[in-house]
Symmetry: D2
Subunit: 342 residues, 4 copies
């Protein structure tokens, strides 16, 4: 059997660990041959391939990124894209595909599966917002990086009497902010699921200065103010180039806090540092297990499924289930640790 | 309500995070007062106490160790120990206890609960071998430390053609070895649950040298040779002090491999480094949640229970269940990643 | 003898290590008593003091920040400020001061020394731009944090074909950018001392994409374009709040590169993460030695001096020398590693 | 010009960084061709070579180990070894050699230089005991790893009332122990240069328990007791295999302390973890600069020299000078931080 492998979407620590495990199990225990498709769905679409065997996977376990490259190409938004993929798979003699990716990549996989392509999915997102699985790999790495940053910022907040706003990844779901906020001992966590009230936040800042040292506020990049919440106090100063120097939500909040409370406030935007580099042990373990089980699913002919962590077990769930809806932070989960906040 | 808190057994990253969360939730949401008992069960036994409130818990979240101190004192092996504890709790006006510890500490808690002491347990072991919970805090930190060590040893194995044997913690259960072995890309993992055959291991070493670079072998401190397995080839050389220079199982295995295969072999024994220092984000999150839920269990009067992670939920299980038996690595779990080994 | 200690200016890993070493040596070997002044020069100015002895310094060696607090208060810009300081020192019975800080803090110390205050200085800046000393503590920590971030970004650049611009600290001097750029394997380093040509940089980006993977560009926050260099191609898009989303120089450069080359470009601004948290071993060693020698200088009555690292020796140099001019990256030092850049 | 490169001796973080810098500067700025010799002096001796150019050096900067492999082969202890090397260099068309290694490797280089081989040396030892240079690369990494381990052990010492003995590398010189001991806040440091008195050490342990928490003692692997110092109190218990369970000096000291003071004592032997894995920023910077300057020395025909760090400059010193004597910790350097010890 000849199996194609591809990785799609944004960078995520653990991709290489999945690839290595799929290949190792496939070659050793199932007698598969492998073909690597480059740059996500662009690979099968444009016939971009690379040799993929045990040799190519040597030493990649601890490395971030993906040896297969990635892209956000969507074959369904390209005329004849699906036919092209089917043709390319056929002419390369590829019998089955392992697609490793997030909502978009697995969404394509889901539709291709419905159109008869034999595909198995491995869920990937540092945001941890894919339903059907307890955790996705990459998330633990991102949370640790954010937590280490918060650890470092505590000493500055403490010694220098400054409000520090840490913007972390999470466009739709607040998992990274919630976990890093709890682990880092933040005094407020703002997530997309719970619009924030800038006035209440500023009151918290003032109370905090009275009772303890300066607060650290963790905010998801997708956090939004409550409707009608006035966030326009700061009009933005122009810099030397004539441009207004205001960035994303972290910068906005820091500016508002400084304007409203008079307390010096700084934002730190962790950005892409959260999604690159070597994975944590947890992510390597999870990614490796996903890869092993994905190869087994191919061997079992159990297509149209994706791997999922449930407790400590890896299970197969329908691809459609994993991508049906985003897994958001529930009000109960947000409230659980509220005693540390506000 | 006045609640006592104690920590028992070996060091484990996350103990302080539990204490902080219990106190914070207890004071803020349930109106508890707290009393700290020092040095495990020695505290209530000998009346060793310390003040414990939100102030004492400031800044302890990222710190290893325990502000309460610890010991392995067992009141049941001391004449009149149990009565003494009951008397001391009564005279200190303590209504309920939160006991944070492993098999031994919770074993005492289980028996005390049966004798009418109102106690709630929080499971703690870096070995991850307590049944009833998916994971215990401290384990993820230990696995990450071991994995980072293995990462470092790879370059030496690769460049200097040496067999490296890494001895990790795990007297009865091989969880740390298994997870760190998978995460670190070891080429063999030896655990207490699966006696090893030194001859087969040496054949693996020789094969490995032919096909790849020098192997890294991860071994639990409690690993044992198969019955009849000859591990006495090395008689031990005397050092300058006239003592035989042989340590634990890691050193033994390295010596045997070198004697049998002629390949230079070195053991690294990670030891106590695995159980000290700052916890990972996962362990801080898990420990914090255990603490929050333990305070809630006290408030609910749900005594004789311990906190357990099931999937992503914290549940209460009977104390007796959590300590009834060790959670060992099953043959299936050991076999899952065998494709990377041997 | 009664000795006051204060820390001024921005946060810098190693401040607590200096305090601990000054106090330890002073108490044990010279019989000093100590008084802590809080929040930089505000302490002696407003009489803000705290107890400072061996007990207060226990456990602070690995901690970032400063137990004394800090500020940017300058007594020379306050009417009667100098007299107030002299009065407060006299009434507190303080015979000598150890001032730990950067250009501003030591500038004040220099002038006070000329006015008869017995003061010894310890140089502090993560920017490493104080003349008279080979290195300052805090710099090595900042460089390591930046290097680890660059390590992580490499995998994203490599797998996802993106230009990554990393903005590091350094308003006047490019030391952090230069060292982290060399250590992190950046393909371009832009520093304040060498105005950059955005056109040449974009040509470099395009060449790089042809021959290797996407480039990583490290830029000091104080880097500037060459005179006449057109950096206004990007007019700035408005965000949801009606504000232009453009931050500092890192964001500007990323935007220009994307606009000119069509290559997706992202900026990461490391910010305050570089100056908080636990110091590296080098910084703890250097800070500790500075502290030990500062106490010796006080004991020797060698006032008006600051500690300096020369090779592996700690020497005393005149305070005026250390603050006379900024230590900038010379053209030769910038050129040394140019073979990796451009 | 055709230049050979080899790496000899034990593993050391930064070797790959040197290789990359030599090659990059040599190819780009001097028009050299390169040939890699494998496994130290065994390479030129047995004609073991590998291709070496910019391509082979891509991505190796942050990796520990050496892509060239290493060995401890000494051609001077092999009949006709030197002639063989000269023949192999000639037949491979190699005009000059860059030898990267420690005392032994550079000792061979020194003698070969005297015999007319055009060789330039780069000093390498994690022990930092090569004279002629302020620091060697690898040392800073080793010290940081040891310091992080000590940081972790503090919490165990503090919470669990145990003496912890940390054995670090350093057979002849105590640099790693001294630096890590200062940076980690050890309460005693034992180095080869200063024989220790076990009785005095035990008195220190007892005093320490009275005034503070349990002590951490850092000991070089080459530390020795004072002459006549009785270290034979512990006779060694036999383990399950009939072997006495006693390892190196760390274990010996822990056993003696426990036997003499009754305080539970544990040894942690860091071993090879100290010499593998990714280098710190300082070591990458130093290794890179050594490499750049070594290529320049070859271009300048300045053979028989080795690179040396003096302050912040890289200088060329005669090979014979660098290997003439070991750089030991002087009594003054040992005494400098004694206020923290004993």
């Amino acid at each position: 059997m000849r199996v194609g492998v591809l990785t799609g979407g944004g960078d995520c620590p653990g991709l290489n660990a999945v690839i290595r495990a799929v290949v190792r199990r496939g070659v050793r225990d199932h007698g598969f041959e492998f073909l690597g498709f480059r740059d996500g769905w662009r690979g099968p679409l444009e016939g971009l391939t690379m040799e993929l065997g045990i040799e190519q996977c040597r030493g990649i376990l601890p490395r971030g990124g993906t040896i297969l490259g990635s892209s956000r190409t969507n074959p369904f938004s390209i005329d004849g894209g699906v036919e092209q993929i089917k043709d390319n798979l056929a002419s390369a003699g590829v019998d089955a595909l392992v697609a490793i990716g997030g909502e978009d990549t697995l969404g394509v996989a889901t539709k291709l599966a419905e159109l008869g392509v034999d595909v198995v999915g491995v869920p990937k997102t540092i945001d941890n917002d894919l339903s059907g699985t307890d955790f996705t790999f990459g998330f633990d790495t991102a949370v640790n990086i954010a937590t280490e940053a918060i650890d470092r910022l505590h000493t500055t907040a403490e010694s220098h009497h400054r409000v520090l706003v840490v913007e972390v990844m999470g466009r739709h779901a607040g998992w990274i902010a919630l976990h890093a906020g709890i682990a880092g001992g933040a005094s407020a966590v703002l997530i997309p699921e719970q619009p924030f009230d800038i006035e209440a936040l500023c009151r918290h800042v003032e109370t905090r200065f009275e009772t303890s040292y300066a607060p650290i506020i963790v905010v998801s990049e997708g956090a939004v103010p409550v409707e009608g919440g006035d966030m326009t106090l700061v009009s933005g100063e122009k810099d030397a180039f004539g441009h207004v120097r205001l960035g994303g939500i972290g910068d906005r909040i820091a500016s508002e806090i400084e304007a409203r409370t008079g307390k010096e406030s700084r934002a730190v935007v962790l950005g892409h540092v959260q999604r690159g580099g070597t994975p944590t042990a947890f992510d390597r373990w999870l990614a490796t297990r996903f890869g092993l089980h994905a190869a087994d699913a191919v061997a079992a002919g159990d297509f149209g499924t994706m791997m999922a962590l449930r407790g400590t077990n890896i299970e197969r769930v329908p691809l459609s289930e994993g991508t049906a809806e985003l897994k958001l932070v529930s009000p109960e989960e947000y409230a659980e640790a509220a005693v540390f906040f506000g």
